[in-house]
């Protein structure tokens, strides 16, 4: 399956909405911890979900600079691109 930047972001927002605490406003700029209330163990859970969804492996090092959902999108997109599964 191939993805577009839009469909990646839509999917990410969906996943993060599922993991964010009640009442959190989930946008691309949301910070995982401060805005969404996802703790570090929760982040690992999100990563596992994303790996399953996008069929890719996100190594630990790739997550080192991640703060917001947008950062996660970038990490996912660059891997999809390397696999030739990102359009546009």
């Amino acid at each position: 399956m191939t993805w577009t930047r839009d469909s990646v972001r839509t999917e990410l927002l969906k996943v993060f909405r599922r993991h964010a605490e009640d009442g959190a406003d989930v946008t691309e700029g949301s910070r995982l911890v401060a805005d969404l209330g996802i703790d570090s163990l929760g982040v690992m859970e999100v990563i596992a979900d994303l790996e399953d969804k996008f069929h890719l492996h996100i190594p630990d090092e790739a997550l080192r600079e991640v703060d917001t959902i947008r950062d996660v999108a970038t990490a996912v997109e660059s891997r999809l691109q390397n696999d030739g599964r990102l359009e546009g």
Partner: protein, 647 residues
């Protein structure tokens, strides 16, 4: 058999070509297996390579090796050459390198390490460390040693020689280097394997995802199995956090019989492993499910047993463990094969008299811990565990009347359920003393709560290059644990950390009990509640403050929530909280291992910065990073992305 050095254990195990270490890799299905004969050869190469780099017996070598395979062989290789390894956990990649480097520099400098062995990637980050640690001669990339062929030149190593330095966190200090000799290791391994677990040589098989820079992973699963030629399968720590089912799958696949985890690991399995993932699991070979390294909550373990009983897990596999790095690893284990045992005591006696008086057989049972009004709370244990400190406990306040809203002690007696961690090992002694008994002159009696102190062959010689800290750690020759607890029929029970007790009108309250109760109120983020006592602002008496995180933002709702929290604590513990504070998610400071930091929260509260929404963590960023580096087990809990600590 007489005690052996680790070196001797490696050489003896080499006769075995069937048992050894297996390393699971996340990205592919390969599981390289090294027989004990292979372990002997691989470690000899690393030892030889370190000698070729100029390291001699007694020299310290810092190891910062993210890969389990590299770590194990470099660690054992150094030990065989008489070189003293100093494990340091790898950078967590939080984008906050400065704090990590500062901490690493402290350990490297304090240990006087001459060499640092690390990966090429990490080596690039360590430039400043090398520049600032005058005794550090070289930083070497491990990749260059993997193919080394230097012969290990034999070195005489005795039981009295230092085996390695275990840097450990202090709640208020920089990491301290626990000096462990081969004699310490041999004594503790014997206690763990022979007395604690009745391990069967060459037969029992271990599975571990625990980080190897932490005593439970390193001593429990790298060193101890060498002495008894047990096969161990290692998983990367982060793989477990990402996909907890991989732990249980590995136990299934390799018929694992011994595996350990902190309390939170069992809770994580309950929370995260789906029914569909349980198909194919078979945990019937798992005879020792050890739980230690953080406070134990009996209900978390029961929930695990309930969930996995259908795939062969036995309740009786649980072993409750108490230990600390200063005692090599383990201090006491509950009896293998007996499952979780708890002691139900009267809250009133515990708080007012420091006496753990057994509760009369319950007309009101201590379970369920949670009043029926909130049954979902007990079904969803909080992760991570909220308790700070080394003590293992499971305290549950129960038996109360939810309709009792009056001030003063509740009508029915509150009871506390405390996990029993078994007796001290043979040749070791644990006793409770008054905290101010500086000579350890008057051991307290059965069921009297005091500071637990320890002596015996597993106890460290002292802190490396720190006579003052060492002196303070050994009042009258006993090792202070910093844990409050009691002995009942010789069995160790932990109540909490001595520094955190809240004293009101001469009664001692443990913050965990208050926090647990507050966490049952809907709207309060369970596991994100901190209680503490403070003498501020009037300095007249200790005031009880309880801070909780909530997603709720409406001020009117805040007021209602605070009222609920106050009521919950009042009803269960009979204590009036002076100040209840609601804060946003992510504001409460935590250690690297996800434990709430009570002292730090109190400080922020006293300085009036807790409510300055930009958060305690902002202020503490550097402090928190220091914490992170201090706590070795913290690595895997908060290794990633926007860790709560770092926000």
């Amino acid at each position: 058999m007489s005690l052996r050095t680790v070196v001797q254990a490696i050489e003896d195990a080499a006769a075995s070509t069937k048992t050894g270490y297996r390393f699971v890799d996340e990205t592919n299905d390969a599981e390289p297996f090294f027989t004990h004969a292979g372990v002997e050869r691989q470690s000899a190469r690393f030892g030889g390579a370190l000698q070729a780099l100029g390291a001699k017996k007694g020299d310290r070598v810092a190891l910062i090796l993210p890969d389990n395979t590299d770590f194990v062989f470099a660690f054992l290789g150094a030990i065989r050459a008489g070189i003293v390894p100093v494990p340091i956990y790898p950078p967590t990649g939080l984008g906050k390198l400065a704090g990590y480097l500062e901490n690493t520099l402290h350990i490297v400098d304090k240990s006087g390490a001459k060499l640092c062995l690390t990966s090429t990637e990490i080596k690039r980050m360590l430039g400043s460390v090398q520049a600032k640690a005058p005794r550090l001669e070289k930083v070497v990339a491990v990749e260059t040693l993997r193919a080394a062929r230097e012969e290990l030149r034999p070195v005489k190593v005795d039981l009295d020689d230092v085996a390695f330095l275990q840097f450990t966190s202090g709640s208020t200090s920089r990491p301290k280097g626990v000096v462990l000799t081969h004699g310490n290791l041999a004594a503790n391994v014997r206690a763990i394997m022979e007395q604690g677990l009745a391990a069967r040589d060459g037969v029992d098989s271990g599975v571990s995802w625990l980080p190897l820079y932490h005593d439970m992973g390193l001593i429990g699963f790298v060193i101890a199995p060498l002495y008894h030629r047990n096969t161990v399968t290692f998983l990367p720590p982060l793989l477990f956090l990402k996909r907890p089912v991989r732990w249980l799958e590995t136990l299934t696949r390799h018929r694992g019989s011994i595996s350990f985890g902190p309390n939170f690991a069992y809770a994580l399995c309950v929370k995260r492993i789906r029914e569909s993932e349980m198909e194919g699991l078979d945990l019937s070979s798992w005879r020792i499910a050890g739980c230690g390294a953080e406070p134990i909550r009996a209900e978390n373990l029961r929930a695990f047993a309930d969930k996995f009983r259908s795939v062969g897990f036995s309740d009786r596999a649980f072993v409750s463990c108490y230990g600390m790095a200063e005692s090599t690893l383990a201090i006491a284990f509950s009896r293998a094969g007996a499952g979780v045992k708890t002691d139900v005591v009267l809250g009133e006696s515990l708080w007012s008299k420091g006496l753990a008086e057994a509760a009369p057989p319950p007309a009101v049972t201590p379970r369920p811990a949670i009043p029926p009004a909130t049954p979902s709370a007990s079904a969803a244990p909080s992760v991570p565990a909220v308790d700070e400190g080394k003590g293992e406990r499971g305290a549950v306040v129960g038996g109360r009347d939810p309709n009792n809203t009056t001030e003063g002690p509740p009508e029915r007696p509150s009871t506390i359920e405390i996990v029993q961690c078994g007796p001290a090992f043979d040749g070791h002694e644990v006793r409770a003393f008054a905290v101010d008994d500086d000579d350890s002159a008057h051991p307290l009696g059965d069921r009297q709560v005091g500071e637990l102190r320890l002596r015996g062959p597993s106890v460290m010689r002292g802190y490396f290059d720190d006579d003052e800290l060492t002196r303070l750690a050994f009042p009258g020759g006993w090792l202070r644990t910093g844990d409050l607890g009691y002995l009942a029929d010789g069995n160790v029970h932990i109540c909490g950390r001595s520094k955190e007790v809240i004293i009101v009108n001469g009664r001692n309250y443990y913050p965990q009990d208050l926090e647990w109760e507050a966490g049952t109120v809907p709207g309060v983020r369970r596991g994100n509640v901190i209680a503490f006592g403070t003498m501020k602002p009037h300095n007249d008496r200790e005031r009880v403050v309880l801070v909780f995180e909530t997603a709720v933002v409406d001020p009117a709702e805040h007021i209602r929530l605070k009222g609920e929290v106050r009521k919950a604590v009042q009803q269960s513990v009979g204590l009036t909280v002076d100040d209840v504070v609601a804060v946003a998610s992510g504001v409460l400071p935590k250690t690297s291992s996800g434990k709430l930091q009570r002292a730090k929260t109190r400080e922020a509260y006293e300085n009036g910065i807790l409510l300055g929404r930009s958060s305690a963590r902002e202020v503490d960023r550097l402090e928190v990073l220091k914490e992170l580096a201090k706590s070795q087990i913290g690595y895997f809990r908060h290794a990633l992305v926007g860790s709560r600590d770092e926000e």
